[in-house]
Symmetry: C2
């Protein structure tokens, strides 16, 4: 199984990007993981937030294959513990999912078309974090999940 | 009202420390905020985890004043949204709390003595994050809370 993180806009903060890369390097020992960045919209002055979301949705949906399991990371999604998240991933592996794509949107959430395409919505916290920081949180959780599945010593109950 | 973050062990990761400092600098515009680091225990080879927690508890409790409102950040704590967290802080201000001390422990949690001293337990996520990363999450949430209370544009519902 392959895991892809699809994001809107580059990670602009160097320090954050460096931390994310560290977890990505660790992840490479466990699973095929990559990131896809959909460019941030330009010339948005005359667009409403809803219109921006629709344009973003076009870019996001274009990246998805029919066979992809799509998980939207969203505040309103289901909250799971780290162990539950690792079981969620294990379950996808056992069900021969070829690729899971996790999607992180911008600060205003997604168009309904993205929610409709999603197989599930997950939330990393009841709190709102910057959509840039969510990338770090997600990457750490993915790494943690892999160490849990391998029975390694990173995670303590 | 003053806010203090009390932590066990230095933040060892430079990149993380840099990010935390950025939010701390932003916070300085809103509130008196400081951090206190209780040194990580040394020569722990012959100590059980429970014994380590007791020694940590001694160091933690020594930092607290009788008048402090103590909030332990713990996986089993109450989960709140960012807006609820800002209201929680506002409520403390209105009730003339002199100092709130948020406490982040090590990977194994706290001694019962620390839980007993705490006025409340809060959780930043149903997921477990490294106790070093929790510092970044907390600092961002505190900053976010301040911008919410000021009606500023950082947080989007």
């Amino acid at each position: 199984m392959k895991i892809t993180l699809l994001m809107v806009g580059k990670t602009t903060h160097d320090g954050l990007q460096k931390l994310i890369l560290e977890y990505q390097q660790r992840l490479a020992h466990y699973i095929t993981y990559d990131t896809l960045v959909v460019p941030e919209l330009k010339n948005i002055k005359n667009l409403s937030i809803a219109e921006q979301k629709e344009k973003e949705a076009d870019l996001i949906l274009k990246q998805l294959d029919h066979s992809d399991e799509v998980i939207v990371l969203d505040e309103n999604g289901k909250m799971v513990s780290s162990v539950e998240f690792s079981k969620f991933l294990e379950n996808k592996m056992l069900n021969s999912v070829k690729r899971i794509v996790f999607v992180i949107g911008g600060p205003f959430g997604f168009s309904p078309r993205v929610y409709n395409r999603a197989n599930q919505q997950l939330s990393l916290s009841a709190m709102t974090f910057s959509h840039q920081m969510i990338r770090l949180l997600f990457t750490e959780q993915l790494y943690r999940a892999m160490t849990i599945l391998k029975g390694e010593n990173y995670h303590h109950q």
